[in-house]
Subunit: 205 residues, 4 copies
Amino acid sequence: MVRPRFANLAPEQQQAILRAALDEFATHGFHDASLNRVIEAAGISKGSMYYYFEGKEDLYTYVARIEVERLLAEVGPFSVPSQGDADAFWSTLADYYLRLMTALTASPQLAALIRGWAAASKTPALQEAQQQLEQGMWPWLVQTLAAGQRVGAVRSDLPAALLIAVVVGMGQAMDTWLVTRAPDIDDLPRLIGALVEMIRGAVRP
Amino acid sequence: MVRPRFANLAPEQQQAILRAALDEFATHGFHDASLNRVIEAAGISKGSMYYYFEGKEDLYTYVARIEVERLLAEVGPFSVPSQGDADAFWSTLADYYLRLMTALTASPQLAALIRGWAAASKTPALQEAQQQLEQGMWPWLVQTLAAGQRVGAVRSDLPAALLIAVVVGMGQAMDTWLVTRAPDIDDLPRLIGALVEMIRGAVRP
Amino acid sequence: MVRPRFANLAPEQQQAILRAALDEFATHGFHDASLNRVIEAAGISKGSMYYYFEGKEDLYTYVARIEVERLLAEVGPFSVPSQGDADAFWSTLADYYLRLMTALTASPQLAALIRGWAAASKTPALQEAQQQLEQGMWPWLVQTLAAGQRVGAVRSDLPAALLIAVVVGMGQAMDTWLVTRAPDIDDLPRLIGALVEMIRGAVRP
Amino acid sequence: MVRPRFANLAPEQQQAILRAALDEFATHGFHDASLNRVIEAAGISKGSMYYYFEGKEDLYTYVARIEVERLLAEVGPFSVPSQGDADAFWSTLADYYLRLMTALTASPQLAALIRGWAAASKTPALQEAQQQLEQGMWPWLVQTLAAGQRVGAVRSDLPAALLIAVVVGMGQAMDTWLVTRAPDIDDLPRLIGALVEMIRGAVRP
DNA sequence: TATGAATGAGCTTTCATTCAT
DNA sequence: TATGAATGAAAGCTCATTCAT
């Protein structure tokens, strides 16, 4: 875990370190990332880095967690409509998804970080960290899926984990496509609408 | 590019090298893979490795290309039915997809290699190699998509690249899910059927 | 030298620091011992440690000296019988030795510290510290040897330093053997008796 | 284990490396020894060192083994007289001991290395290596002890391990004393005679 | 008195690559 | 063709010590 010392650091210093680390991890992935480069870019000493973080993994998990939290805070809460029909469900989801993608498009580095998760993560500690992050989102996914099934918007004859995996895969593909193309922001709503439509078609009963 | 000398090598030697390299890359990913280990496992000398391949990236791209080609050859050709309706199209695709997944389930190392693509480092040479691989499959994907659109099985109002990306994303998610669960082979057809059904729903006009 | 400030510290604090340091040095030896760990275990700040001690070596020498003094105080004084024959001399020595070994067996950490002396690094300051410790015991050894020679219990034809070195070597070997075996305390008197007997045989005129 | 590559090295190179390593280990002990210093003193590259040896421990165990073997080869074999009385036994032992000490006095670095064995050796691999070295000498010690007991030169009422430990302790003390004083070689025989005499007195029945 | 942030030199080890033979 | 010795840059990480507060 991040050492509490880091929190006491001047915000600009914190920012410098986080920015440097996010940059490095997004650009090179975890394995290829070099702590030395982060240290140099952040303008701190080697000893300081290890004074703030326990090591490479610690820095990585901290950066990932902070950035995801920042993203979700920026996007705002998503409340599944407990009442309503399938159309209402999909409409609400589309709104949320648009906000999410808009934010993510503005954070290409975070997008790269998330995309890198698929990478082989051999260290147990890293795997655990990723699981924690995923588990943090898992309830949201499960609840949303259940809500969709409740209003008859989502099929119920396949394992929930499979449905979620496929939908997340669609989302990641779309994310990658969007970030790569860096489309006009005007186009985004239409594309998001199309994507949600595709998801709807994929999981409809 | 692989040096032509490699082709003159005794087939068993070629096999030994390819097997060792595939093993290493699948297990550790590109960056963490160690040429030293490959060399040791293959039972060749360091000099020989550099006599046959230009370097680590060269070996990686060669292994990836060869393995993908081997997989596709094993699966056999996919001929889009030029005549027929949407049902025929999807049925043909489902057949092909089942064959592909069956083969991939039998090659967990190749599956790991492909999954690792997202995470591979950003060396220009590596990126180029990946693009080449993807471009190798691209015509097939484009043709299949076009065929689907011709028979009215696939919507035509979105960029082809986006449709392909999303469908590939779905496939990768499913692949990961399947390989991780290592399901009974009996279950596979039903799951494949469901996946193709989901794809159909996603891209239907 | 220990800074006098240390003496003004609350006894519990002193104890905490000494205990932590003894633990660390006994477990890891001088070089591998980590001041950071000592500081953490003692629950003091890094600055405080350097306020009380000049550095690692200073702490080490202080701990060693204090612990040896504590041991000797616990064992009590050894008074060479000025009168009497050789038998009386050896009997008195055996009594003392038994007390010493009993105490040392109860302080495995100190035993480990002493045993580590041979291996401690060769920093001039450290060497000097060890010499000081040894010099502290030297008078006692010399006096005891002289007393033994006076009553005809010990040969006089070899350098005193050599006799002492050999006897100490025997004692250390026995100590190590005893601590390693952690024998029943009942056995101790007999073994001590045998050891003193061996020493007697070794140095008899 | 030492990599066979080392054996193929030019003898002068081997000597340079061994000399540098022996120097470093004898001066600083295992923990405090710095591979960087060894590398620099030997005049080879960092990579080469790791090409020849698996690591620090490997180098240490190799140096220790080689030096001990060299010493024993130099001293020549020791044959316990199967026949004869106690006097013959001790006389033979004294001869051998004189040869051993003469050789050791000429190798103060090896003496330092051996003395450093008592040090805390925390790494399992290191402990194992030391045990191997000790086990190599153990049979010799046990046989010699048994021979001494057979001819009535050594008491039989104490554990063999204890007797051996004490005698070895005496030897080490003597060794240290001798090496430190670096006495005239003329004096050596008399001192060795006295030491063997002391050992005889210590272990006599 | 007391703190703890900050540091940089140092550590062992790994690795892809070169090149003389 | 084929070998394997040699290399140096780079990696992640630890540590005793300093010093401003």
